[in-house]
Amino acid sequence: MDKAREGETIRVWPMYRALVGVGMLCGLLIVTVFVLTLPVIERNQAEALERAVFQVLPGAISKRSFLLGEDDAFRPAQAGDPPPQTVHAGFDAGGNLVGIAVQGQGMGYQDVIRVLYGYAPGRQAIIGLQVLASKETPGLGDKIEKDPAFLENFHALDVSLDAGGQAIAHPIEPVKSGEKTDPWQIDGITGATISSKAIAGILREGSRHWIPRIYHQRRVFESAGGSDGES
């Protein structure tokens, strides 16, 4: 009996030792590389965001960032302000406001999808969208980044405010591929239903929060057009 128990201990201990030991070593390695690469990755992400702002706001050549304060008022952003509360106003060569780029995120099929979309207060429409980060299924879900027919939805997606000016008149809704009839609808992608619905959900939630605030304070952004922007 004792011998059997002793034999069991001898077999089990090396397994614990190997798995826990290798696990600790691997954990240490991952954390070390994460800490070392984080500043570079953050700098790359900031540069990618800059490029994306000009892509979702066609015609913009300079930008200024604004922070939504706790008093619900926008003020020029400072370095180190929290990114989720920051929006980016894009201006054309004449210093006129093209639109505001806003970040949004939501759960996709595999992982969180992060997007940047451009809103033009003058047209009361979303005029561009770019996926910043996604791990959707290759060949299916990743069509949200590449499918030209799907991206066509975001050239003039209606997000007009209702008569009271406090809510979106027609919240964004996803429909099956080819069934779009109204300008606030998003044509889905066959084979990527969850991912395309996730994009519609991100825009619907984001527009409900941001668009009334941006629209009513559009003068703040317009008046910043003459000052020095970052190009």
Binding site: I30, V40, D142
Partner: protein, 214 residues
């Protein structure tokens, strides 16, 4: 004269390049081979990332081979491979976010590339560190070579460029099908045909030579 150990290590390196090429002979890791070879840059990036993971996982598995009981060896190997894939994921994000986005979920999927676990189980867990590094390096470079063959052909015909450089005059009409998934299958089929034809000719010649000498 080279020592037998040096000859052994060189052989471990060379076998992955041609004789036991992971793609053209062993037909392993087909998922990234077909999916990310629509351009030369993507193919090279995936090949180098896989080489990095296979060399380092082979090294660690070989170093710890007497420390890991056989009952938990697969779990431990996967843990080691997943660690190096996470490391390579951070490194690619630091080097270029564009390449990271182009490779998408396939970076994470290097974990399940059967080539890497296969080398850990079949070679690194039974051989010394030096030989395992050479084996990983040979297999990794062989894998990269195969990816580059596919990526090169597909980008040249599908986009008219190689590593982004235009190769044809302005009138060239690219074969869009080559950068689509069907182009991947087609190119892989043709390359396998060519590779196996060359290999069978070499085998025939070797057999004739052996017959003549015996």
């Amino acid at each position: 004269m080279a020592s037998p150990e040096a000859v052994g290590s060189t052989d471990e390196f060379i076998k992955g390049l041609w004789r036991e090429n992971p793609v053209f002979v062993q037909v392993l890791g087909m998922c990234p081979v077909l999916a990310v070879t629509n351009s030369g840059v993507n193919a090279l990036s995936m090949g180098l990332a896989t080489t990095f993971v296979i060399v380092l996982s082979n090294t660690l598995v070989s170093t710890l081979r007497n420390f890991i009981p056989k009952e938990v060896r697969i779990a431990t190997f996967i843990l080691i491979i997943a660690t190096f894939v996470t490391v390579v994921d951070y490194l690619i994000q630091a080097i270029s976010l564009d390449i990271h986005r182009a490779l998408g979920a396939f970076i994470s999927l290097i974990v399940v590339n059967c080539l890497i676990l296969g080398r850990a189980e079949a070679f690194a867990s039974k051989n010394g560190v030096g030989a395992s590094i050479m084996d990983g390096l040979g297999m990794g470079i062989g894998f990269t070579f195969a990816l580059l063959c596919l990526g090169g052909v597909r980008e040249i015909l599908g986009s008219g460029t190689l590593f982004g450089l235009a190769l044809f005059p302005a009138g060239f009409q690219p074969w869009v099908v080559m950068i689509l998934p069907s182009g991947g299958f087609f190119t892989l089929g043709v390359l396998l045909l060519v590779f196996n034809r060359i290999k069978s000719r070499q085998d025939e010649k070797r057999a004739v030579l052996q017959e003549a000498t015996s």
